[in-house]
């Protein structure tokens, strides 16, 4: 029998749920689902290093305290959030802002929605008791304690539905902001459903108010991409230096669907992003790309499960980590090819660049192949900047940090290049450059 030794943090999360449960949106069946999700979390407990998927991100060791659930943002919190949002505003997008775990209508743009596009705050959906929809949002992978906890505790989020045949011209931008007024934790969950023959771009940003207090953000994104639909997804994590970000995205693809996702983590103290992608329709295509740019004592974990359930699907993963000082980067990528998934074409390449002797990068690519007619491959490398290149560049007049910056940009370039939209690629490049300039 698996006995879970409860830690203080684990117990504190239980207490937090007990206090919060009556205030959480959704009654009846939804409340029941939350309770089940919480029980799943309690059975498993806070993940630790003896659980293989969490080997490099031991939350029992890293997460020493549980911060109180964030109160609904007041005017001061909204003001701080608005300033942070403005600083990282992206032109030409429809902005949807979550402040301290609550949808902020005044900072969001819900006007003149395209025909076929519906956007609603999660709280509203749960309060309205739309059982089919809320079942999708709260129903959860109970094998992952943090996703279960997120389902149990989610206070708000956005529910986006794109009707069959609708192609959005304007990217959607979900901005998660911690106002940072007081130490707090927040739990959000969002749903994005793309019908058949649709197209959309989703950007997600994680930000904090200036000089934010410590916070813990837990987010879950659930995405269903219909047949012949395409989603482009860009995720930028620029949390503040004391922040925890424990998030997940669970994505399923229909037949001939296409999912292109890029994630950049440069902020936060401890972050874990678990991306689960399932090809459930034949002929679907997935490109998963990511970059970690971290320094100081940052810990950033990207864990990917690429599940090929049906034949004739293709997936590509390119991951790059740049790790300075005493930072710790983790990339776990598991490609599963189910027995029926013949003609799967799956490749994964992860590379880490260590800029200091104390930096650590753990790259763990895994293939689990149960079909016999497939093309699969993976590779992983870890190394330092090439001294001969650095000398050449310095001999041409570039100071060391500038030469390093050019080489780092080139190193992460292949992953950033995968972003299909030119303006969003520029946003990602600018985010990377901010990190490089800060270390120069």
């Amino acid at each position: 029998m698996n006995v879970v030794a409860k830690t203080e943090t684990g117990r504190a999360l239980g207490d937090a749920f007990a206090v919060a449960r009556d205030r959480l949106p959704g009654k009846g069946k939804i409340a029941e689902q939350r309770r089940e999700a919480f029980e799943a979390y309690e059975r498993l407990g806070l993940p630790h290093r003896r659980i293989e998927d969490w080997k490099y991100t031991d939350l029992r060791a890293l997460m020493r305290e549980v911060l109180p659930l964030a109160p609904a943002p007041d005017a001061a919190a909204l003001g701080r959030a608005a300033a942070a949002v403005k600083l990282r505003a992206i032109d030409g997008v429809r902005r949807l802002v979550l402040v301290d775990g609550a949808f902020a209508p005044d900072l969001s743009d819900l006007g003149k929605l395209d025909k076929g596009l519906s956007i609603r705050p999660l709280r509203e959906v749960l309060d309205a008791g739309d059982s089919a929809l809320s079942a999708q949002v709260i129903a959860t992978d109970v094998s992952n304690p943090m996703i279960a906890l997120n389902g149990a505790m989610a206070t708000d989020g956005v529910v986006i539905e794109i009707a069959d045949g609708t192609v959005l011209t304007e990217p959607l931008h979900i901005v998660h902001v911690a106002s940072g007024t007081a130490p707090a934790s927040m739990f959000t969950r969002s749903l994005l459903r793309l019908g058949r023959d649709t197209g959309a771009t989703l950007v997600e940003s994680y930000l904090a108010g200036e000089d934010a207090k410590a916070y813990q953000t837990h987010d879950g994104l659930i995405v269903a991409i219909g047949d012949n639909a395409r989603l482009d997804h860009v995720r930028l994590v620029e949390d503040s230096v004391d922040a925890f970000n424990i998030s997940s995205a669970t994505v399923s693809l229909g037949a001939h669907a296409h999912f292109n996702t890029f994630g950049l983590t440069s902020g936060g103290h401890v972050s874990r992003y678990q991306l689960t992608v399932t090809c459930s329709g034949e002929g679907s295509k997935v490109e998963t790309n990511g970059v970690n740019l971290i320094n100081g004592k940052q810990h950033a974990d990207t864990t990917l499960f690429m599940d090929h359930a049906v034949p004739h699907c293709a997936s590509r993963e390119i991951f790059r980590a740049v790790v300075d000082d005493r930072a710790h980067s983790v990339f776990q990528g598991r490609i599963i090819v189910r027995p029926d998934a013949q003609k799967t074409d799956a490749k994964m390449m992860t590379r880490a660049l260590l800029l200091s002797d104390d930096a650590e990068a753990d790259n763990k690519p895994e293939l689990e192949i149960f079909a016999d007619d497939v093309t699969c491959g993976h590779g992983a490398t870890t190394g330092a900047l090439d001294e001969s290149l650095l000398f050449y560049m310095r001999a041409r007049g570039l100071p060391e940090k500038e030469a390093q910056a050019l080489l780092i940009q080139a190193f992460v370039g292949e992953a950033i290049e995968s972003i299909a939209s030119d303006p969003l690629r520029e946003v990602a490049i600018a985010t990377a450059q901010r990190w490089l300039q800060a270390r120069a």
């Binding site: 007049g397 570039l398 080489l407």
Partner: protein, 250 residues
């Protein structure tokens, strides 16, 4: 004042002494050739002048316009006007030649307290130089030296030399890996940069290169020292009799 003065230079690499007291004086406008067999320390000298890490200077000095070059970082040396054309120019995937040259030129200008060069002015300048060296524009859009032939890599070195307008150019085995046509183009590029203010130090195994870049002074290196210096006829003499005669002298 002489431009470059190497005085009694002693250099070690991993406990082994490579240069045992080398001296060399180069004045503005002069072209010096340094010849010598493999392992005589020619490339070590060029690396130490440019500031490559991994060499330990245990004695002597290198002065550039009277300043102590050994106290400067490689990028400071470049900004002061020291240029090394590499024997094997490296490939830098993902960094376009344009971006690299622009960043390097601006870094040098900034170090000298000059204004940055604007993109249009830079573009114009590079285009002119590239044209004179027969370097197609699309080569400049590619990663630095990525997929370049041996000749193209050497031409790219000369392009940089022309762009940065250094006071001293060290050309390390410029002829290695070049066929006769590529060699002629590269040499023409170098000759075009000869001027009364600029000095060049041409390091080579073979006399052949010196038919194209005619030196004022020829030095013979052996076992980490200059063992003989003379006029350009010394190079021809070496071609006849080989380096063996100097092995004992060292």
């Amino acid at each position: 004042m002489s431009l470059l003065e190497v005085k009694d230079l002693q250099v070690r690499v991993e406990e082994r002494e490579i240069l045992h007291g080398l001296s060399l004086t180069v004045n503005p406008g002069e072209v010096h050739a340094i010849m010598g067999p493999n392992g005589s320390g020619k490339s070590t000298l060029s690396h130490v002048i440019a500031g490559k890490p991994g060499y330990e200077v245990t004695g002597g000095q290198i002065l550039f316009k009277g300043e102590d070059l050994l106290e400067m970082a490689p990028n400071e040396r470049a900004a002061k006007g020291v240029f090394l054309a590499f024997q094997y120019p490296v490939e830098i995937p993902g960094v376009t030649t344009w971006n690299f040259l622009h960043a390097a030129l601006n870094a040098q200008r900034k170090a000298r307290g000059e204004d940055e060069i604007s993109s249009p002015a830079f573009l114009k300048k590079v285009r002119e130089v590239a044209k004179s060296l027969n370097i197609p524009q699309d080569m400049l859009k590619r990663g630095v030296n990525v997929g370049f032939s041996g000749g193209e890599k050497k031409r790219n070195e000369i392009l940089q030399m022309a762009l940065f307008e250094p006071a001293v150019c060290i050309l390390d085995e410029m002829d290695s890996g070049l066929d006769i046509d590529a060699l002629r183009i590269a040499a023409d590029g170098v000759n075009a940069l000869r001027s009364p203010e600029r000095a060049m130090v041409v390091i080579t195994h073979y006399q052949r290169l010196l038919n194209y870049i005619v030196p004022d002074v020829v030095h013979v290196m052996s076992k980490g020292r200059v063992v003989k210096s003379g006029g350009k006829e010394l190079a021809l003499e070496l071609e006849e009799s080989g380096y063996a005669q100097f092995e004992d002298a060292a």
